[in-house]
Subunit: 64 residues, 2 copies
């Protein structure tokens, strides 16, 4: 499966796991809707900083 783990950068610039096994990401304004392979959804005001699909990594940055 080609889902990714989504990490959120904290104030110190450290990556913290936000949601595992993410299948879908749908941006909507300044919010992202993340959906994992079990159809669980999580919403966050953030933007994508970087995606490395082969490494299954997506890094988010909070929007203040």
């Amino acid at each position: 499966m080609c889902e990714a783990n989504v990490y959120l950068l904290n104030e110190k610039g450290e990556e913290r796991l936000f949601l595992e096994s993410v299948d879908k990401i749908i941006p909507n304004g300044d919010e992202l809707c993340l959906e994992d392979i079990f159809n669980r959804k999580k919403y966050i005001k953030a933007k994508i900083k970087e995606m490395e699909l082969v490494e299954h990594r997506i890094i988010l940055e909070k929007i203040d």
Copy 2:
């Protein structure tokens, strides 16, 4: 491998293949830097409309 194919929506709302086998996406302002698994890079003024990683699909929308 868990790369994705990136499609760009045209004026008619149809998806057109923009870049295959994309590994990395790095947003920078209103531009996206896409890098495929062969380290070929392509830049485009666009935003991510939708990602379906399990389906290896990423849809972009041009920014005017």
